[in-house]
């Protein structure tokens, strides 16, 4: 079941093609939207919201057509934009209640719900303060609160950790993870920060030059061909290396006393082989895990780039 289904979508700004024949299904759950600057991530979010009219193609969000049912879609979506935004002259509780009313909630319900959501977002103590006096971290939280107030079925988060200190970032990611798992709320999170995505999302969609590059579960994307195993020994051991080679496996030394073992067998069989080699070499195995690459490597491979001492989109 997908929350949004996009078919051959083309979005142009003049002669610039922002989304080029994009087809993608956004699944239920928490999905990370990745891509370098100018890839079309924000355009995709804007198109889902109906801010931008596609030149061709079709898309439906929560079963509503983006061309003709923008209001119905926006009533069921919460947007946490990248930029700071608030209604001037209002306290937090007024602002969030007003956002609820704009979404169609009755006034009393909106006010009650505003108190609840602000409490949940950690702004309970500051709810009567004017939003303009808030710190950056608090402004991020209030943006999340106004997006959540009407109980959306789909939450769009655009760079939710922008400008946050490490502690604020942790708290924001905890909040996002909490609302996106087991609460019946689907989340699409667009971020430059792969660790953020990895922490909260289950699946990712990678777009580049307006086209879909990769889509799937993070754990699948991080898998390495051949299903190698990472072994951590109590200490470095040449005898273990020799033993594993004698069993027909290839071995690569990683940092400290860790090795990556690759065979043509299944992970379980490779595991048995590693344990047998360790026994033969008389060395203690401290850890054995299926090897996986980082999301950064997976992402760079998908966009056809190479990591050069760090990652910056």
């Amino acid at each position: 079941m997908s929350v949004a289904s996009i078919q051959n979508l083309v979005v142009q700004y003049g002669s610039f093609v922002a989304l080029n024949n994009l087809s993608v299904d956004i699944p239920e759950g928490c999905t990370g939207l990745l891509g370098p600057n100018g890839a079309g991530k924000t355009t995709l979010l804007k198109t889902i919201l109906g801010f931008v009219q596609p030149a061709s193609g079709s898309a439906s969000v929560l079963g509503f057509d983006i061309r003709t049912q923008g209001r119905e879609i926006r009533q069921r979506i919460g947007l946490m934009p990248e930029q700071d935004c608030h209604i001037p002259g209002m306290s937090a509780v007024q602002f969030v209640a007003y956002a609820g009313e704009l979404a169609g909630m009755p006034k009393e319900q909106a006010l009650r719900r505003a108190h609840e959501v602000l409490e949940y977002c950690g702004l309970g103590e500051a709810r009567y303060r004017n939003v303009e006096t808030y710190s950056t971290g608090m402004k991020q939280r209030i943006k999340l609160a106004q997006a959540l107030v009407h109980g959306p079925r789909l939450l769009l988060l655009d760079e939710p950790t922008n400008g946050l200190d490490p502690r604020g970032r942790e708290e924001m990611l905890d909040l996002v993870r909490s609302v996106s798992h087991g609460k019946g709320l689907n989340v699409v999170i667009s971020s430059h920060l792969l660790p953020d995505i990895e922490r909260v999302a289950d699946q990712v969609i990678v777009v580049m030059k307006g086209q879909l590059r990769v889509q799937g579960f993070i754990k699948d994307l991080k898998k390495i061909d051949g299903a190698p195993m990472d072994v951590e020994l109590i200490e470095q051991s040449d005898r273990f290396v020799a033993a594993i080679k004698s069993k027909g496996a290839t071995i690569e030394a990683l940092a400290y006393s860790r090795y990556r073992v690759t065979t043509s067998k299944t992970p379980t069989e490779t595991g048995h082989l590693v344990l047998a080699a360790a026994r033969d070499a008389g060395v203690q195995v401290r850890g054995l895990i299926e090897a996986e690459r980082s999301l950064e490597d997976a992402f760079l491979e998908s966009i056809g780039a190479q990591a050069h001492g760090g990652f910056q989109l």
């Binding site: 355009t43 947007l79 930029q83 009313e101 704009l102 909630m105 103590e125 106004q146 997006a147 909490s178």
Partner: protein
């Protein structure tokens, strides 16, 4: 601090969500409620009805004097009533209120869109089930309705006072359509003022800047019309008849301001050139009313232009590829 037994975990809202139409009313209502919290609005609203209050005081004074006049002596009330033209009192009342309406429109409307531009509030509005039409009409109506109420209440109150107290003095018979005309004038005036201030507001990111520019234009054009008034008086004193040639042209230019267009429109709708304030004889003559279309057409075109500017300026977000 939250109660230790409070459940602070997130729960989804599954209550009622009303129809997505009429979002403009939520925007207008909130703008009005926020405006009503500003004390200055109440003060200016009270001052805007000043002419009617003064007129009622004068009428009350003459009533008292007439009651104490011995029989056989000329009745001062009758003399006073003979000098005043009822419909002109509404022109004076509307004209007197212009400055206060400007002040109120600045308080309510100058920051309506400008402050939203500064705070990126459009992202909030347009990500909800509202569109540009809802937002713009909500902002416009949120300015228009208070202005209409502020300008209509004293006028209608004075009308009711006159209709109940001075019926025999020709209050109703002199113009049976007086009340609809009063309502039409205040409605057009409020709509014009709202369109202007909303248009200016949309051009800036600071409400104060929008207000300063609008007020600057208001007073600049007002200064021009005062020059035209001086020129017109000079021409007419040299013997030109008011309705002819250069005199007529200059008298029409007297209405070439925001304030002037409103007053000209009021004179056109009431069908009067005006008369001295409070019925007190004055050497300063009233500038003749221009043809109604000369004021209505610019009012309409300027209003449409300002709304169009606001429409063009309202965008959900800057386009970033």
């Amino acid at each position: 601090m939250a109660s230790p037994i409070a459940d602070l975990s997130y729960r989804n809202y599954d209550g009622v969500l009303t129809d997505t139409r009429f979002r403009w009313w939520v925007i207008a209502k909130t703008q009005i409620l926020m405006a009503l919290k500003k004390r200055a609005i109440w003060v200016y609203a009270a001052f805007s009805g000043g002419y009617y209050a003064l007129m009622m005081a004068v009428l009350f004074f003459f009533d008292q004097v007439a009651a104490n006049t011995p029989p056989g002596r000329p009745n001062p009330m009758s003399q006073f009533l003979g000098r005043i033209i009822w419909k002109d009192q509404f022109i004076h009342g509307f004209s007197f209120g212009q400055m206060w309406f400007l002040a109120i429109s600045l308080i309510i409307g100058a920051g309506a869109i400008a402050n939203d531009n500064r705070a990126n509030a459009l992202l909030v509005y347009l990500s909800k089930p509202c569109d540009k039409k809802d937002y713009l009409f909500g902002r416009w109506f949120g300015t228009f309705l208070p202005l209409l109420v502020v300008s209509a209440i004293p006028s209608v109150f004075f009308y009711l006072y006159g209709a109940m107290s001075y019926r025999e003095a020709g209050f109703i018979s002199s113009d049976p359509w007086l009340l609809p005309k009063v309502l039409l004038v205040v409605t057009i005036g409020a709509a014009f003022q709202s369109s202007l201030v909303i248009g200016f507001s949309s051009m800036f990111n600071q409400g104060r800047m929008a207000g300063a520019v609008y007020a600057g234009l208001y007073f600049l054009t007002n200064f021009f019309t005062q020059l035209m008034l001086a020129a017109w008086m000079g021409v007419t004193e040299r013997g030109q008849r008011a309705a002819e040639g250069p005199s007529r042209f200059i008298s029409n230019l007297f209405y070439a301001s925001i304030d002037g267009l409103n007053i000209g429109m009021a004179k056109g709708i009431f069908g009067s050139d005006g008369s001295p304030y409070l019925g007190i004889p004055s050497p300063v003559k009233s500038v003749p009313a221009p043809p109604l279309f000369i004021t209505l057409v610019p009012i309409f075109l300027i209003s449409v232009l300002m709304i169009y500017i606001a429409w063009r300026r309202i965008r959900p977000v800057e386009i970033v590829g």
